[in-house]
Symmetry: C2
Subunit: 426 residues, 2 copies
Amino acid sequence: MSKQAPKDVLNRRGFLGAAGLLAAGAALPIGKAKAEAAAQPDPAITEVHDFNKLLGDGVDRRPYGMPSKYEKHVVRRDVGWLTASAESSVNFTPLHELDGIITPSGLCFERHHSGVAEINPADHRLMINGLVEKPLVFTMEDIKRMPRVNRIYFLECAANSGMEWRGAQLNGCQFTHGMVHNVMYTGVPLKVLLDEAGLKPNVKWLMLEGADAAGLNRSLPIDKALNDVLIAFAMNGEALRPEQGYPLRAVIPGWQGNMWVKWLRRIEAGDMPWQTREETSKYTDLMPDGRARKHTFVMDAKSVVTNPSPQAPLKHKGRNVLSGFAWSGRGTIKRVDVSIDGGRNWGTARLDGPILDKSLTRFYVDFDWNGQEMMIQSRAIDDTGYVQPSKPELRKIRGVNSIYHNNGIQTWLVRANGETENVEIS
Amino acid sequence: MSKQAPKDVLNRRGFLGAAGLLAAGAALPIGKAKAEAAAQPDPAITEVHDFNKLLGDGVDRRPYGMPSKYEKHVVRRDVGWLTASAESSVNFTPLHELDGIITPSGLCFERHHSGVAEINPADHRLMINGLVEKPLVFTMEDIKRMPRVNRIYFLECAANSGMEWRGAQLNGCQFTHGMVHNVMYTGVPLKVLLDEAGLKPNVKWLMLEGADAAGLNRSLPIDKALNDVLIAFAMNGEALRPEQGYPLRAVIPGWQGNMWVKWLRRIEAGDMPWQTREETSKYTDLMPDGRARKHTFVMDAKSVVTNPSPQAPLKHKGRNVLSGFAWSGRGTIKRVDVSIDGGRNWGTARLDGPILDKSLTRFYVDFDWNGQEMMIQSRAIDDTGYVQPSKPELRKIRGVNSIYHNNGIQTWLVRANGETENVEIS
C-alpha cells in the first residue's frame, strides 16, 4: 500500500549538534534542532500503481486518481480507417467535453509514425553534435539541473482539419479539430543547451531526431531555436506522458506539431535544412499548380465552436452557453467573432481565462435559444491583425490538394431539435 | 474499442435544402451544403474505460492516458496513523515530484471526513434556500447553461503543516506541505446563482452543505460569497474528480480548504453563522490562553522548497536547481527569498510561470553546490507586503496547541552527502 509506516516518518529522530553547517563554516544559531532519516522508497508502491485496484472508500483507493465512472465517454478516439495500423495513426482530443484552457494530459491527442517508444529515463541521452565547438551528451539528470521555465502552449498537428479541405467530412469537433491540445510545459530553453555546446558561426539550421522506431526528424531554423524553443521534460506539472515523448521532447511554440520531436535523442547543427521525409514528401502543401509549399511551419489563427457541436447537441431552449477555443501560432488571440447565421452577421464573444501567447484561448457566448435553426461559425483575430479565413477563401488560393494547414472557418448547423451537424457553406 | 466506425463519421451525408435557418427566417447563402447525422454514443466505450487494458502499441492503447511505468513512485501517499480509518483521512500531493504550477488532477491531495461520495450527475441537485425570495433547485444541466469563468487557484487544507507546530515531525515536503494543490477551475460565479434566487436584505451568511456521508457544512460570509466564490464543475479542463467533489464543489479562493464544500448539494442563506461542527470543535485555533480563534478563513502567505527536500536529496555537486512553491490567500506572490544558512543571509529567487492571484507560484534558484552542508529556507512575500514568519515567531503568538494555519518557514538540512532532513531551528 502507499502507506508509509509511522515510524519511518515520525519516530526516528536525532538531535543535530551545533556543528558548522555553512559553506564558510560559521556556526548556525541552532538551539534545538531535530532531524529525520531520509525517507526510503516504498517498495509497495509498485503494487498499487495498478490504477484500477480499489483500496477502499477513503483516501488512497487510487494513489493516482482517475475520472468518475460517469465520465467514461470522455476519451480520445480514433476513426479507425485513417491509417493502416494503430502504430502509425492518430486519435483525437475530445474538445467538446473540455472547458477552460488546460487539456488533461490523459486526453491529449496522439499522433505516432511508429508507435510509442518506451524509454527508461535512466538510459536516455540527448546528444548535440554537428557544427558545434564541443559535442555533448546529456543524461536526464544533467538536463534537470539546468535552468528551466514554464510555459503554456498549444500543439496543433499540421493535418488538423485536413479532412475538411474537400468539404464537410467528419461529424464532430473531436474529429475535425481534435488534433490540438494545450498544456503547461516545463523545460530548459534550447538556447541554454546550444550555448553550452557552442554553435559554429555558419550554423543556420538544426536537425531534431526522435528515439522512436521512426527516428522521426525535422529541420529547425536556428533563429526559432534560439528564440523560444524548449527542451521539455514535464507537462501539466508531472513528467511527460509516454505518448507525448517521455522523457524528453521539443516544444516549438506556435509551429506545427510534427516539429515538436518526441523522445528527443539528438540535435545536430548544420548550415542547411536536412530535407527529411517529414519536410519533403510529407508536411508540404500541394498547391493547385502542382508545386508544393515547403517549410510552412507556423499554425495560423484558427478557432472552433466546441459547444454546441455534433457530439454536443443543444438540449434545452432558453439559456445556453456557446463555447469554443481560439488560437494563433503568431501570438495572442485579440478577439473572437461568432455568427449564428452562417457568417452574415457577427457578434463578439467573451474571452475568459488566461489569454496567453500561442495558447488555446477560451471563448463563450451566453445566449438564449428559441429553437430556431442556426448556422454557427467562429472566427479568430490575433494580435497581428490576422483574421481567420473562410474555407472558400482558403481554397481560392490553396486549392484542395493539401492535407495540411486548414484553418478555415468551421460551420455547424443546429437543427430545431438541437441536433448539430458539420456542414459546408460555399 | 474506442473506434467509431467509418460510416458513422464519414459516409452518411445529406444535403441541406436552402431552408430558412435564421431567427428572422431569412434564407442563408447556402450553395452547396453537406450535413452528417449526429454522432451516436459508442456503447463499446465503457469497455475500454478499463484504463489498464492495453490495446496495442499505437494510439488508443489507453483512451484515457496514464503516466509512464517509470513514474510509479509519483503518487499521493498517506501516513497511515493519522486517523482511525481511510474514510476520514488524508493523503498528500507529491510536491517534490511536480514542476510548473499545475497539479495533475490525479495527484491532488485528498481529505475526506466520510469517504468519497459517488454521485450520478443526472441525479444531482443544488438547492438554494433560506432567506431568499425564490428558493431554487438546479440540475447539473441547469448550472452548465449559466455563464461560467475559468480561474487557477490553490486549495490548502487549514491543517497543512499542522504536525509541525510542535517541531520537525514529518520527513518530506509531501507530508509537511502536501495538503495543497493548484488547478484551473471552471464554474459559475456564486453571485449569478444567488441573484437568481434573490437574497433578502438581512442575509449576512450562507451555509454550504455537501452530499457526502458527513453532510459536511460550513458558514460563509456573504461578502466573500458575492466577491469571487465559484460553483465549479470542472478542474484542469475536465469534470471534477470524484475525490474533489464530482459533480459540483465550492471554490473559495484563498480560504481554507475545508470551506470548499465538495459534492455541494445545498446553499442556505441566513443572518448569522451556523456554528457547525467544522467551525467550532474543529477548524478553530486553540491559543495559549485556552481561548480559540474562530473563523480564521484566510490562508496566509507561505512557501516551501520542494527540491532539494528529504524525498528529493541532492545527487550531484556543481550545477543544481533549487525549486519550490509560494502562495498567498490574500493576493499574488511578490517575492520569494531563499537562505542556505538557516536564515542568516537571504537571496531573491527567480519566479517563473504565470504569477496569478491566489495561485501557487513557482520559484527557482539556479546554483552551484560544492558539497557544503546547507540549512535551506524560503520565505514568501505577497503583494500586501506580508512576510512569511518563522516558526518561532508564530509560536510566540499562537503557542503550540493548534493544528491549523501553520505557515511558518520550513527548514531543510542538506548534508554533505546530499541527504536532506526536516530540522527545526529555534
